[in-house]
Amino acid sequence: MSGAVRFALGLGLAGVIAGVALWVGKDPVDADGTAGDGGAAALTAQGGAQPPVFTSSRQCKGCHAELYAEWEASHHAISYTNPEVRKLSDDFAQKECRTCHLPVPILVSGVGQRTIFRQERPDEGVDCLSCHLDPQGRIAGRHASDKGCMPVASADSVKVELCESCHNQHLTTDQWRASRFAKDGVTCNTCHMPEVERAGGRKGLDHRWLGAHDLATLKKGGELRVERKDDRLAVEFENVGCGHNFPTEERHRAVDIVWRVVAPDGLDKPGAELAFTRLYRFRQPYRGDPGPNTQLPAGETWKGEIPVPADGAGKVLQVRLLYKLTPFVEDDDASVLDERRFEL
């Protein structure tokens, strides 16, 4: 063996040893807190015959980058850090909010049971482990596999009851059970976790849980119908797309039907300048606040009227359907779900 070959072999061997040493020394979670390749390597390294040990949802990122990105963009990811939530909960001084915003894995505390507050990883909110870590420390999903995180198949991970542990705090799943959607087998996942295609043609369920924060999803929820009848506008609003009340969930949410009569050049002027009149508000009041719950149940229709002013010739009657994340949101800052205009 020539000196050059011996040198090359020695260099190669040293490289292998150094590589192994570096690999073994690698922590499951990188120093910056992201798993990245380190997380994936750790899962594989610790895997083999033994399922991996989980310390953070960041470990999931290595193999499930797209899915992880979906979750990161969701409101589940910021459930405990969202400044809006922290403000409304008085920085979680209202302790009742904590159990859903930072839960112990639901498969551990009990599917369909009230959740338990988690004392770790506050920056991960409702994370991968919240829905997929089972009491044995295994990942539970739709399909079993002996690779990667070695998930076990579990029907619990796609059940309505999994969502119910948190989302029935505001009676959303009770509303669903009372609707035709439940009878037709349309579940939470059908609308909020539709099947999506990811890189390489792999199919999976959307982990963004689009809902109250997504205009396109909101627009599918209700149908506004406005018809002119002589001296009035007949207004109907039907909950056509939600398998629960519209709006549902937190008592903050409000859906308003508003209207105003403006000159044609004033149609785009803000409400602060040319105020709207509220025809109706769909909302469950805060506890202790007066008034009934006016959320619109699934499949039901609300009917109302707007008087057409006799002196409105040449003007336009503008009707808007607004969605507000809190009842205090100004009309101009609300999401416009629909708008109708009638020349007078």
């Binding site: 989980f54 551990v108 420390g137 202790g288």
Partner: protein, 511 residues
């Protein structure tokens, strides 16, 4: 306890498994005893149906009890009696004779009159003075009935009604009003400052100083100080240290702060041996607080039964799915001082995790007054779902062997423990380590060997979350090296490492 901690673990990386046995075993260990019986495996906790036991125990409601249901009135009878209330409370001189007649008639059927009074008070056309006259009339009714009326109307829309009810509850011998009064002092529940101040005073009369810290906080706010002053004077008087003008404002505040501190540490209000109802200084010949109002139960056992029954009516909501009533119960329990401890001890043994957890969380904030619950808390070390919180609570309530237990958990935990999966191999893991560190921070034991161990582990971890909680425990336990750990925590905040609100809370609580 060391013996029980050193028993073999049941899985890999299980050194922090402090699973305890049944309640008797844990109690024996708390008392310094030892047992050779094997520990149950993690996750085998089995509690009793405490809620059912309570329901049975408190099912007995005396016929004259304050919360006996008022009679149901048909519409005609209700309208007739509401008319009588309107006549009875009129200030018109021409109607004086009719008013007297109406009062007599209302007195003849007091339960029905009380039932109709609620409807009368709801009439929007009532002049406020008439409503107050109506309330003054029922002041002469049997005390249990009045207590019942007052408790029902603590949330009345009319602030004058609420105020009257709160004050009357202070005048009557009704310690069982405390739990529902405590719920009223929750943030944002009672927004009228005069009513809220009256609630604080009535609580003090019944031996609960939970509102005192908030009343003291008002002192810094010019808008509230006028209301806080007279209330503080009455409260320190109730506590047996009557205010003298020569002491000045600072003297009053110092007295109030002393009472507040003592309340937080012991859960028992400073009271003179014979504190009178109403907060006035005790007369030399005693009497006062022990004196029952007209028709009030004069038997202490009966009153204790009613008070415990009131706690039960709140704590049974621990099992609610909707969290608001759970939170109200937890709030009242933690503000209840030692009065709530007896039922909390029992709640810790319930078979439902959603009863055990709120009880633990109430103890976490009750802190040292919750120490009698230590044996029951230790039992929950064997409960896979409650273990982390139980360790945290063990430090917060200052259990006798908390330092020993928590130190061992931390010392034995792996450097990078697995996340929460309580029944998994490797459990209890990460959440338990954090809870034990949190417990040590709450305990605040200044021990050199503890600081050494924590510092070693701090140096060995490269995880921000664990780093933050080692710092919390070190800040609470260390004296000479505090400055360095404070700087470390500040640097974490500046570098935005880990969850900012948690870091801020650690700084606020343990710095």
């Amino acid at each position: 306890m060391l013996l029980f901690l050193s028993l073999p673990s049941c899985g890999r990386e299980e050194p922090a498994d402090v699973g305890a046995g049944d309640g008797k075993q844990a109690q024996a260990q708390q008392a310094g005893g030892a047992t050779s019986s094997p520990l149950p495996a993690v996750g085998t906790y089995a509690g009793a149906d405490v809620l059912a036991r309570w329901a049975e125990r408190f099912a007995r409601v005396p016929a004259t009890a304050y919360d006996a249901p008022l009679p149901a009135l048909d519409d005609a009878r209700r309208a007739e009696l509401v008319d009588k209330w309107a006549t009875a409370t009129t200030s018109s001189r021409r109607m004086a004779r009719y008013a007297a007649e109406a009062r007599d008639q209302l007195m003849q059927d007091r339960p029905a009159a009380l039932a109709a009074l609620a409807a009368f008070l709801e009439l929007p056309s009532n002049p406020p003075d008439d409503e107050l006259r109506a309330l003054t009339m029922i002041a002469d009714y049997d005390a249990p009935a009045v207590v019942g009326f007052c408790l029902r109307h603590l949330t009345d829309e009319n602030r004058l009604v609420r105020l009257w009810c709160v004050r009357r509850l202070g005048e009557l011998d009704a310690p069982h009003a405390v739990p529902r009064l405590l719920v009223r002092i929750r943030e944002f529940y009672e927004e009228d400052p005069e009513v809220l101040a009256a609630v604080f005073e009535t609580l003090a009369i019944h031996g609960n100083l939970a509102g005192l810290s908030r009343l003291l906080a008002w002192v810094g706010d010019p808008a509230w100080v006028e209301r806080a002053g007279p209330s503080l004077i009455r409260i320190v008087g109730t506590c047996g240290t009557p205010y003298d003008e020569s002491e000045g404002w600072d003297g009053l505040l110092a007295k109030a702060r002393l009472h507040e501190r003592n309340w937080r540490e012991t859960g028992v209000a400073d009271r003179p041996a014979t504190a009178p109802a109403g907060g006035a200084p005790a007369p030399e010949n005693g009497g006062g607080h022990e004196a029952a109002g007209d028709g009030a139960p004069d038997d202490r056992a009966e009153r204790d039964y009613l008070a415990q029954r009131e706690w039960w009516l709140l704590l049974r909501d621990f099992d609610e799915f909707q969290l608001r009533p759970v939170d109200e119960a937890r709030f009242a329990a933690r503000e209840g001082g030692v009065a709530a401890v007896a039922l909390l001890r029992e709640a810790l043994g319930d078979q439902r995790v959603n009863v055990r957890m709120p009880a633990l969380e109430a103890l976490l904030e009750l802190r040292r007054p919750g120490k009698p619950c230590a044996p029951e808390v230790a039992t929950l070390f064997g409960d896979r779902l409650c273990r982390a919180t139980a360790l945290n609570v063990y430090g917060a309530i200052g259990a006798d062997d908390a330092l020993e237990v928590l130190t061992r958990v931390v010392d034995a935990a792996p450097a990078t423990p697995a996340t929460a999966a309580p029944a998994a191999p490797g459990a209890p893991g990460r959440e338990v380590l954090i809870a034990a560190l949190h417990g040590l921070a709450e305990l605040g034991a200044a021990r050199l060997d503890l600081v050494d161990m924590l510092a070693r582990r701090l140096a060995a971890t490269d995880e921000d979350e664990l780093h933050a909680w080692y710092l919390a425990a070190l800040l609470a336990s260390s004296r000479s090296l505090r400055a360095g750990y404070e700087a470390d925590l500040d640097k974490m905040l500046a570098d935005k490492r880990y969850h900012e609100p948690t870091l801020l809370e650690i700084r606020r609580k343990y710095r």
